[in-house]
């Protein structure tokens, strides 16, 4: 599927709030929100890439993105934890108060973290919970 080409940002659209440290060699796309709550911080290492529209929200500790890690677009990372060096986080994935090992890959659209908090919703077309369906990308099976 063709994806419409990206527009260059008119200005630097990154929103930064709280204690946030970014290595100058990190590449951060437009529309990214970096928010560190009080007593928390975000550290972004060298050569890190963060995709369009991602949100990093640190609370209750340090959220660190180590050297060379790549985050796709629309990634949501909340709480504290460490994304290991050269890890790859697929687009629209959600990571809650968890750490990812160096070199590891997180599939697009997945959820890592506290599963007990997931909203249970009604059955879908397939008679499978939307939860399973979206998490596994498996449509009407």
């Amino acid at each position: 599927m063709y994806v419409p080409p990206l527009r260059p940002p008119n200005h630097d659209d990154t929103y930064i709030s709280g204690e946030v440290t970014i290595d100058p060699s990190a590449a951060i796309a437009p529309g990214v929100l970096l928010q560190a709550s009080p007593n928390s911080q975000i550290i972004i290492g060298a050569g890190v890439c963060i995709g369009m529209g991602s949100i990093l929200h640190a609370y209750e500790g340090i959220l660190e993105i180590e050297t060379g890690a790549n985050l796709g677009s629309g990634v949501l990372i909340l709480g504290k934890g460490k994304i290991g060096a050269n890890a790859c986080i697929g687009s629209t994935a959600t990571i809650l108060s968890s750490s990812i090992e160096p070199q590891q890959i997180v599939l697009p659209g997945s959820l890592i973290g506290d599963k007990s908090r997931i909203v249970v919703v009604q059955k879908t077309v397939a008679g499978i919970d939307t939860i399973n369906e979206t998490a596994s990308f498996s449509p009407e099976e």
Partner: protein, 187 residues
Amino acid sequence: MVVSSPAAPPTPWSKSLVEPKIEPSAYVHSLSNLSGDVTIGANVVIAPGTSIIADEGAPFYISEGTNIQDGVVIHGLEQGRVIGDDEKQYSVWIGKNTTITHMSLIHGPAYIGDDCFIGFRSTVFNARVGHGCIIMMHALIQDVEIPAGKYVPSGAVITNQQQADYLPDVESEDLEFTSLVLGMNDA
């Protein structure tokens, strides 16, 4: 900086030579991105945050009384055309009194008939959707022709003709549901 290749895709900010043709009774919100050879019929409503760009695939035709809601994207591939109801060739044709709801993606070549409903975040790409079809939410319609009056449930992925041919017909409860959604947008 790397030299960009000549095959780089055209960019939406490049000014097309052809400007959109908009009927005076149509409403196009200032926060919509509308460019290229696009014809907008009478009483069409184009909401904010929409992107209707006929730069590669063109032209587009949006017929009278149709409603394009917030966050919709309409774009077309350079290749491939559909035959509109006026027998001319289009990259994207959208019929009369049709509703394209929030965050849908209509990607040409695509034909959508009269009185259709395309639900939230659904995609229509390289496909024909006949008159009076209802496509619910988070659905994908690709490489198929959907006969008139068919119902596509939420989350369905319709990518081969056999699936399209076996779709159920629209029922009255579906129309009640869609009118509820339409009421939301009119308010």
